[in-house]
Symmetry: C2
Subunit: 275 residues, 2 copies
């Protein structure tokens, strides 16, 4: 444990140094309840160093950790080294996932992993029959569990309404990751979803889509059909205090320009809707 403590101290010192030395600029979201982050999946073709470089380029401070950047079987030392690397760029790993869970063993592993990583939010895709078991786990661990939605592509959890139907009678720590693109592709209104289910929305995937149907493709924020100003206003109205993580699912081999454009657009909307 003392090694972990030492690592955390080093991480904190490095974080403060980076913070102090960087151009003292206030990000557009600095006065908002919500934060801007990145879904690790966006960088699934790139290693952690390249990922962190791009987060720094885009001044993104929150990362949802995917297992290809930090494997499930990572040791305590590897996890400490991971956090230190993030801290050097001023980045916080705020959650893990999405993690598919098809058995109780998968659930146990995921909760154990999240605990060792030191986060209290899991983004998951659990088989329906596992929900009662997960419901007990969130109580035992005092974690939040955000079910991931995937629109019309797969049957498991297409949209926010579907997830709500499965969690409404469960512990309030059972919620969802609102993917505004996928719920729109399933014919729903993500802004209305945000208002309706705000108590149970623990994470968000921000993106844009070319159409409100199965044929809709993920695209740079602002190029598609979603009403981003309305979304930002609803983030404020509901007081959403989690992370809005960009999940950019286009040009996976070279997503950097699209990421920058999307983050720029989102911040432009944040600033302009303050007026």
């Amino acid at each position: 444990m003392s090694k972990t403590y030492l690592s955390l101290c080093i991480s904190l010192t490095l974080f403060l140094c980076v913070h102090f030395l960087s151009f003292s600029q206030k990000l557009p979201e600095a006065n908002e309840h919500f934060k801007i982050g990145m879904a690790g999946y966006t960088y699934h073709k790139f290693d952690l160093d390249r990922t962190l470089d791009d987060l720094a380029t885009n001044q993104v401070k929150y990362l949802c950790i995917k297992d290809f950047h930090l494997p499930f079987n990572s040791s305590e030392q590897e996890i400490a080294a991971f956090h230190q690397k993030l801290a050097e760029k001023g980045v916080t790993g705020y959650a893990v996932g999405p993690i598919y869970m098809r058995s109780k063993a998968d659930v146990d592993n995921a909760f154990d992993y999240a605990k060792r990583v030191g986060v209290k939010l899991i983004v998951g895709v659990p088989n329906h029959e596992l929900l009662p078991y997960i419901n007990e786990k969130v109580k035992a661990y005092d974690f939040k569990y955000a079910i991931h939605m995937h629109g019309p592509d797969i049957a498991l959890y297409p949209d926010a309404d579907d997830i709500w139907s499965h969690i409404k009678d469960l512990d309030p720590r059972m919620g969802m990751c609102l993917d505004i693109g996928h719920t729109a592709r399933n014919g729903k209104d993500p802004v209305a979803d945000l208002e309706k289910y705000n108590d149970r929305i623990f994470d968000m995937h921000i993106k844009d889509v070319t159409a409100a149907s199965k044929e809709g493709k993920s695209i740079e924020i602002g190029r598609g059909i979603l009403d981003i100003p309305a979304l930002v206003q609803m983030l404020r109205k509901t007081g959403y205090s989690g992370v809005c993580s960009l999940e950019h699912e286009r040009n996976f081999d070279n997503p950097f320009s699209g990421i920058a454009e999307s983050i720029g657009y989102f911040r432009g909307v944040i600033v302009a809707t303050k007026q």
Copy 2:
């Protein structure tokens, strides 16, 4: 001349094809009077092909032509080939410059070049004593002449007020390229400048800066001190119908992420201020 005509026909056909085949998406600025473009200087380390690729990536349709992409001594055929290349990407070269002019010969060359290129707007940096001569040229050619400003860095034309003092008694076709960053670095308010001098603003350089002083550096739009929502509102109020050309002057060896972020931010502000 028939060769030029043929080239223009081919260009037009290619433009229409590209236009027709591309994702039928309405750009945020589609319903505005102003357009979004790019100052060629942004890509001064890259050739025309790489430049046009990036304009396509960012859906930018207007380019202010710099001579490193189309040399002053280009032949009629080279100019036609240049326009054809632009048309293949749906890009219009709307002006030439900035061009430094230190003698009457420089002025003659610049006007001759612009005429051969087929644009009616020159962005220039002329010595003061040449202004009466240029004033006669704009009448003879029926061109517009936009004097480029450069803040506190060089004595010639630091800001909009200075340019106005030199052109106010000249032909109304004598105007300026409002560089919102440089005029701000000279202690002026670019939004007020836009309102004050809107009759004489024929081109704009959009950028952001870290400080309203000589020490201020060019930075991605939205990261600096400029009030971009107020600028966009003033573009609407004044009915500015020219191009807002991004002049990104940072990370010249790899400006692409910064360009995408800046264009994204600007478009986010355009959309959000419509509400």
